[in-house]
Symmetry: C2
Subunit: 371 residues, 2 copies
C-alpha cells in the first residue's frame, strides 16, 4: 500500500473526504435554487474529480486542450469560457464534428463575424455565448450596450445566450458584499437576456458563476446555469473571503524538511514555488498567509507555522509571530495548504488521493495540462 510516506516529495495531495463535502455543499445549495451546475474543470483538470461531481455532466473549460481531454472521456456538453480567438475555430469544429456541443464565448462583432463566416464555410452551427461584463473585472460588454443586440443579430442561429463572471467577487470580503456580488451577477446576466429578448432574439442560455457567487447566491431566477470550479478544492484565498474555512481545503502539497536555520527561525523544505506556484493571492487580504499554511502529513494544521518564502525548489517555513518554530527534524514530511488551488494544482501532473487524516493513498488521479 502506498502511503503519503512513499513517493518522493514534493507532490500534490487531495483529501477526498473534503472534496466530496465541498461538492455536496454546492450541489445542495444550487438544488435549493433550482439551477444546474456547470462545473469548471480548470481547477482540477481531472476527469476523476469531474466524475465525482457528475459523470458526463455539463462542464466549463479554460482551454481547448481541456475540451479535447474531457471529450475523450465522454463529456459532450462543454463551454469554452475564454473569448474565442478565430485561429482556434478549426479545433472547435473538430469537437463539434465529434458530436460534442462545444459552446464558445465572444464579446465583439469581429469575433461574431469570423465565427459566422467560419460556420458558414464549414456548414456547421457553432454555438456562441455573448460575454457580458458585470463588475469591470475582465472582458464583456454592458447589458445595455447596443453592441449586445448587434452581436446577437450577427450571430444568427449561432447565438446561444449570454454569460457573465463576477471576477471581482474574489475581493468581496463580507457576507453582504458576497451576496451583493452574486445578486448583481444574476441581475446583469438577466438584463442582458432581456435586451436580446426585447430585440426579438433568442437567449436560451443565461450562464453565471464564480465560486464565491455560486455559494452566496440566494436567488437565481432567470439564470439557466451556474459555473464554479475552485470550490472542489477551495484554498486560502477562498477561506480569506469567508466562502469556506481552512478545514475545507482539499488540496495540499506534501514536502519534506531538508534543513534548519535556527539563527533565522527558519525550517527549509524541498517544496519551493515550483511545487506551490508563485501565487500569493492572500497578500492583498486581511491575513497574509505567505505561500501557505503548514500541516502535519495527516493534514492537521500546525499552529503559528507558515511558508514565508520560496525559491524554485526550496520552501522557507517560519512563524507569523515571534514563536520559535517547532522541532521538525530533517526528513519530516509536512503538507502546505496553498493560496490558490488552480495555480498550485497546475504545477503537478497527478494527485495522491487520501481520505481525511489517513495516510494511505487510495488512488492516483492524473491531471491534464497545456493548451
Amino acid at each position: 500500500m502506498t502511503t503519503l510516506d512513499t513517493p518522493d516529495t514534493p507532490f500534490a495531495v487531495v483529501d477526498a473526504d473534503r472534496l466530496d463535502r465541498n461538492i455536496a455543499r454546492l450541489r445542495d445549495h444550487l438544488d435549493q435554487l433550482g439551477v444546474p451546475l456547470r462545473l469548471h474543470v480548470k481547477t482540477s483538470k481531472s476527469v476523476e474529480v469531474a466524475e465525482r461531481v457528475q459523470a458526463g455532466g455539463p462542464i466549463t473549460v479554460s482551454t481547448l486542450a481541456e475540451a479535447e481531454h474531457f471529450a475523450d472521456a465522454g463529456y459532450r456538453d462543454i463551454l469554452y469560457a475564454v473569448g474565442i480567438d478565430p485561429h482556434k475555430l478549426p479545433r472547435v469544429a473538430a469537437l463539434l464534428h465529434r458530436g460534442v456541443t462545444l459552446t464558445v464565448l465572444l464579446d465583439s462583432l469581429t469575433q461574431a463575424e469570423s465565427l459566422v463566416s467560419f460556420a458558414h464555410n464549414e456548414n456547421l452551427r457553432v454555438p456562441a455565448l455573448i460575454e457580458v461584463d458585470c463588475d469591470g473585472h475582465r472582458g464583456g460588454i454592458a447589458p445595455t450596450d447596443p453592441a449586445l443586440v448587434e452581436i446577437g443579430r450577427a450571430l444568427g442561429d449561432c447565438l446561444a445566450g449570454v454569460l457573465t463572471h463576477a471576477g471581482e467577487s474574489y475581493f468581496a470580503y463580507t457576507p453582504d458584499a458576497l451576496r451583493k456580488s452574486a445578486s448583481n451577477e444574476r441581475d446583469i446576466a438577466v438584463a442582458a437576456a432581456d435586451s436580446l429578448h426585447s430585440a426579438g432574439l433568442p437567449c436560451p442560455i443565461v450562464s453565471v458563476g464564480s465560486t464565491p457567487t455560486a455559494h452566496a447566491a440566494t436567488d437565481l431566477t432567470g439564470v439557466t446555469e451556474a459555473r464554479a470550479g475552485n470550490y472542489v478544492f477551495f484554498d486560502l484565498v477562498m477561506a480569506g473571503i469567508g466562502v469556506c474555512t481552512t478545514d475545507d481545503l482539499a488540496l495540499s502539497v506534501a514536502v519534506t524538511v531538508i534543513g534548519h536555520r535556527p539563527d533565522k527561525n527558519w525550517i527549509l523544505t524541498d517544496g519551493g514555488w515550483m511545487a506551490t506556484s508563485r501565487d500569493r493571492g492572500t497578500q492583498v487580504q486581511a491575513v497574509d498567509q505567505g505561500y501557505g499554511l503548514v500541516a502535519n502529513l495527516d493534514g492537521t494544521l500546525i499552529p503559528h507555522l507558515i511558508m514565508t518564502g520560496a525559491s524554485q525548489e526550496h520552501g522557507v517555513l517560519s512563524t507569523r509571530d515571534s514563536e520559535p518554530v517547532p522541532d521538525l527534524p530533517i526528513g519530516t514530511r509536512l503538507r502546505i495548504l496553498p493560496n490558490h488551488a488552480c495555480a498550485t494544482a497546475a504545477q503537478h501532473d497527478r494527485y495522491h488521493v487520501v481520505s481525511g487524516t489517513k495516510l494511505d493513498v487510495d488512488e492516483t488521479w492524473t491531471r491534464h495540462r497545456g493548451w
Copy 2:
C-alpha cells in the same frame, strides 16, 4: 514551414540568436577568469539548450527528475544542488550505479550521517558538497562554523567539497553591489575550503554561482566551478538589476488579442498566468514591469505597453503612463517578455525556436518537468 503564426497560442518562444549570444557572453567571461561553468539546467530543463552550452558537460540540477532526464541524454557529471532528503538516496544510488557522478548537497550532521550510513550499506561512494551560507539567503552554514569540519569528518570519503549560492545577488541593484556580492560569494566559499583544509580534510570542489555573480565576478581564485542557469534566457528581473538588457531576453510567450476594453484602456489576450506564471519578481524593483513587457510577434518591443493583469487564461495589457493602448485588432499575435524565465518556462512543455526577428520556427525543443 511552421511559423509563429501557426500553433494556437499561448506557447513559449526561444530566440536562438539571443540564447547563443547569452551563452557566448558568459563562456567568454568565465574563460577569462579561468573557471569552468557548471550550467544549471533548472531554467530551461532542455537537453537542446544544454547542448548549445556544452554537450555532455557538467550540469547542475534542481530535481532528481532533471538528473535522470539528463542522464538519459548522456550527461555524466551532475550536481543536485538542493539539500538532500535522505528518502531520495535510493534514486541517487541508481544514478551512481548507472555511471553518473551524481553529487549531492547537505548542511547538517543528520544528513551526513544518513548519507554515510546509506553509502556504507550500498557499498557505494556518494559524493557530497557541504552547503555554505554567504548571504543569509537560504540554507548553508558559515565557513567558520565548527559544524563545517564536523560534517566534513562525518562524510569521510564522501566529502567532495563546498558549495555556496549568492541568492541575495538578485537584489543587488548596482554594478558595485553585484561585484561585492560576487567577491563575497567567492571569499566565503574559499574560506570554507580553507577551514576544511586546515582540519586536514580534502576539498577538491569549491562551487559558487548565480547568474548575477557569475557575470559580475572579476576574480575567482580558489574556485573550481561557477554555476549559472537563468542567463541562457535572462528575464526582466535580471534586466532590472542590470545584468542584461531587455534586448537579451531569449524567452517569451506568444499570445493573441481576444478582446478590448476601451473604457479601461485594456487589451485582453489569451495568455494569462497559466502561460506566464504568477511570478512578479519586478514588483520589488525600481521599475515594476507588471507581468511583462509586450513585443510584436517578431520580438520588437511595443513602447508603453505592459501586461498589467492576469487571470488563469486571460492577460490584460495596458500602458504604464496615460498613453492610449495601440490599435491591435482581435487575432493580433504578440509576445510577452516575462519577469522570471525559470517560472515562465515551467508553465510550458516545449519551446518554439526562432532566430532573431524571423517568424519561422526552426525547431521545437521539449522541456522536462516534475520531480
